[in-house]
């Protein structure tokens, strides 16, 4: 298996023109997506790193795609800012480009939205080695085809991302979390559904099966006490208040709860689907973002169950012939793929 490293735009172009089939890899934190298949050359982008522009007062930064999220978050944190979609697998070395390609968000996506809500622009090398830019570097922009949004979840199908621009927000001054247990899944679900429709500005709202809710709040320390109290009243439960909650949520977003599982999957979920999903042999799991996002640890039987029921999912880690299920809709996807990657150098399609 040939392996090539690219640390600049030119080297990416060179690699794309040289190898008929390429599998881009950043930090390798999602091996099911970055391990080359037969006939593919590995394109190691871990050297394509660094923050190119960051203007804290604009809430915008631009960085090379291979930049580890950890590095980006440290820089943002020094200015009291963060990536509000709270990307997972930071500890494992996830990069900005890999996170976009896989389309992953973490628990705090509940408050302001997911990755797709924060990506502003992209520069990528298409399947013919051409450099293409989409979007921009300002928080509001409606000019031209939004290639940046096309990259989200694309698994690299349309090109190798080189640069990405993102919107960021101020990090909450303080955070608190409330953990509340219920007797049954149905009760926890009912409480979750109630909270989702209320204007509570929750940073995170997770269901930990079978019947625990974990809720995170952010804001002024003076207001947080009152807001926690209000949550307790609403839920008619004291629960457990975590004053120092940072380490806990870092564990969650790094998917520490999947550690022992051979296969890691992302499943787009919804509260009304949870009872059905709970009936499957899924292993360790957690429903994030008000029940809209499931990360689960599986063995092959669990993966088989998802396939058999045609439940959309993405395998991040572990053996899977096709990590993405179902494939993208042919009538719209195929022409775009043909336009940007006519020789089929990149994954998918």
């Amino acid at each position: 298996m040939p392996e090539v490293r690219a640390s600049s735009l030119e080297e990416v172009q060179e690699a794309v023109r040289t190898y008929p089939r390429l599998r881009p890899k950043g930090g390798g934190s999602k091996p099911a997506l970055s391990t080359p298949k037969d006939g593919e050359a590995l394109l190691d982008l871990s050297g394509l790193r660094g923050i190119l522009e960051y203007a804290p007062e604009e809430f915008v930064f631009t960085a090379y795609a291979g930049t580890p999220l950890k590095e980006i978050e440290e820089t943002l944190r020094a200015h009291g800012q963060y990536l509000p979609f709270h990307p997972p697998l930071v500890e494992q070395g996830a990069t900005l480009g890999g996170t976009v390609a896989a389309g992953l968000s973490g628990p705090m996506r509940e408050r302001f939205g997911g990755l797709r809500d924060f990506i502003l622009g992209v520069r990528f090398v298409d399947g013919e080695g051409r450099v293409v830019r989409g979007g921009g570097k300002v928080v509001k922009n409606a000019a031209g085809f939004p290639f940046h949004r096309l990259m989200v979840g694309s698994l690299g199908a349309f090109g190798v991302m080189v640069e990405l621009s993102f919107k960021v927000f101020p990090y909450p001054r303080a955070t608190r979390s409330l953990r509340v247990g219920f007797a049954k899944t149905e009760e926890a679900l009912e409480a979750l559904e109630g909270l989702r429709t209320l204007p509570l500005d929750l940073l995170a709202l997770d269901l930990v099966p079978p019947a625990t809710l974990e809720i995170r709040l952010g804001g002024f320390p003076e207001s947080l006490e009152k807001r926690i109290q209000r949550l307790q009243d609403l839920l008619q439960r004291e629960g457990e208040v975590l004053l120092e909650d940072e380490a806990h949520w870092e564990g969650v977003r790094n998917l520490a709860f999947l550690k022992e599982s051979p296969i890691w999957v992302k499943v787009p979920s919804r509260p009304d689907l949870i009872p059905m999903l709970e009936g499957l042999p899924l292993g360790p799991r957690r429903y994030l973002a008000g029940g809209e996002l499931l990360y689960a640890g599986l063995d092959p039987e669990g993966l088989q169950a998802l396939r058999e029921r045609a439940i959309p999912h993405l395998v991040l880690r572990g053996k899977a012939d096709q990590p993405l299920h179902p494939p993208p809709p042919e009538a719209f996807f195929a022409p775009i793929k043909r336009a940007l990657d006519p020789r089929g150098r990149f994954p998918l399609g």
Binding site: F118, F145, P199, L200, S269
Partner: protein
């Protein structure tokens, strides 16, 4: 059978318009400086009718333009001469509103504000709020990735569209996205939003709804200069606050708004509106910090809305500003370029200079929180050469925005109006990539021909849109 005969066979009488007088209202959108006579207008009431119309166009090679209420300020729904207009206003049903799932499934002709009205009894709303929201349709909002005053915090339309059913220009019906906030695979729904009808027509749209904020704190501050108001915005951001909206109006815009709706605004060179929103306990704390920041920013007068009525009064002037400017001038062009927030001062200064140079007044109303300028270039279309001068001035402003690191459009789209400026913002290879995608999905170049892409798909008469 010819195209028109087949079209008439597809639709009941009265829903295919071909007579001069019937076509006239569809000759332009809100950018009335451009007019084109379509061959016909169809008024579908169901998805299948839209699909059949698109397929018929594909078979006969007839270009088509889908439109809603025609509020595009960039000529995005300008017809193609001799083409078909698919007017979607009759497809205006909210098909499903599921408060538990926080989604609404709507037809493209649903008016934006209707979604929030329908969601209100459940404490939910649809966040994207272009100023045209009482009239513009969701289908058009999707085409242009519409914005509004709340984009910094809540993003644009793209983030709020979860799924789309689309008919491609070749007549294939495809579903993009899903009902969950999260998906797997390429975000094709996200990509479709903002492609201005060049890649197909949305037949059904699934929107995310949000809980309506519990409390608002709306502040109006007056300043002795535009620059001071602009600096105040930076100070608010630097304090770590994230307001739902921050809007600035200059003297000319204030005068116009006063003349039109008597909002009771203070006399000033510039007004800043800042609105905080969220849980009441949080807003209370934020308001204390905001008061301190605004005090230090040198505001000459500060008002805080004490009731919902006072809040609405503050917004009334702002929302009326565009139409109010009509009182100051027979005609005007609205631009909507974007600059990085920190360069707003520089941009406004240069706009002032250009205004002098061209001898045309420019009123400024803008979404200061996200750097989205709305310079209104005032002119009199009856005076020879004045429209051309106004367009040239507007063009200079767009180039300025790009030069400062911004964008040609924040929310109105490229349409026909700004496509000539696309090469200012995008390199040739970027534009060629857009063209390749367009060509792959629409080999005959029928869907909204002549828009967005400057060197492409101009039909049998190159340059016709500038004629």
């Amino acid at each position: 059978m010819g195209f028109l005969e087949e079209l008439k066979a597809l639709f009941p009488p009265g829903r295919v318009l071909t007579r001069e007088a019937e076509l006239a209202p569809y000759e332009s959108d809100a950018l009335t400086a451009y007019r084109k006579r379509p061959l016909a207008v169809v008024l579908p009431e169901r998805k299948a009718e839209v699909v059949e119309a698109v397929r018929l166009c594909h078979r006969h090679g007839v270009p088509f333009v889908a439109r809603g209420s025609g509020t595009s300020l960039s000529g995005g729904s300008l017809p193609v001469e001799g083409g078909l207009v698919i007017a979607l206003n009759r497809m205006n049903r909210i098909l499903r509103l599921d408060p538990k799932a926080r989604i609404a499934v709507v037809e493209p002709g649903v008016v934006n504000l209707e979604v929030s009205r329908a969601a209100a009894p459940y404490g939910l709303y649809y966040a994207p709020d272009p100023s045209s929201q009482p009239i513009s349709t969701i289908g058009g909002n999707v085409a242009f990735n519409s914005g509004g005053a709340h984009c910094l915090k809540y993003g644009m339309t793209a983030g709020h569209v979860l799924a789309l059913e689309v008919v491609t220009p070749e007549g294939e019906v495809v579903r993009l996205g899903g009902e969950s906030l999260e998906g797997v695979g390429p975000d094709l729904a996200g990509f479709f939003v903002g492609t201005e009808g060049l890649l197909g027509v949305a037949l059904e749209i699934t929107l995310r709804l949000l809980p309506k904020p519990e409390a608002y704190h709306t502040l109006l501050a007056a300043y002795g200069s535009l620059e001071a108001a602009g600096n105040a915005v930076s100070q608010v951001i630097q304090s770590g606050l994230l307001p739902g909206a921050m809007e600035i109006m200059d003297r000319l815009a204030i005068e116009a708004a006063e003349a039109a709706v008597k909002a009771g605004y203070p006399q000033a060179e510039a007004l800043l509106i800042v609105e905080l929103e969220g849980p009441k306990e949080e807003v209370e704390e934020e308001a204390k910090l905001l008061a301190q920041v605004i005090q230090e920013s040198g505001a000459t007068e500060v008002r805080i809305a004490q009731s919902e009525a006072e809040r609405q009064a503050i917004w009334k002037g702002r929302k009326a500003a565009f139409s109010a400017v009509g009182r100051l001038s027979p005609d005007y062009i609205v631009q909507d370029g974007v600059v990085p927030r920190s360069r707003l001062g520089e941009a406004l200064k240069e706009i002032g200079r250009l205004s002098q140079e061209y001898g045309l007044r420019v009123a400024n109303v803008f979404h200061a929180g996200d750097g989205n300028l709305h310079p209104l270039v005032l002119y009199d279309g009856k005076k020879p050469g004045e429209l051309e001068r106004a367009e040239e001035l507007a063009g200079e402003i767009l180039k300025l925005c790009v030069r400062l690191g911004g964008s040609l459009t924040g929310e109105h789209g490229i349409g026909v109006e700004k496509k000539g400026y696309m090469p200012e913002m995008f390199a040739t290879e970027d534009l060629l990539a857009m063209e390749r995608v367009k060509e792959a999905l629409d080999p005959k170049g029928l869907a909204n021909r002549g828009k967005v892409l400057p060197g492409y798909g101009q039909g049998p008469h190159p340059g016709e849109v500038y004629a």
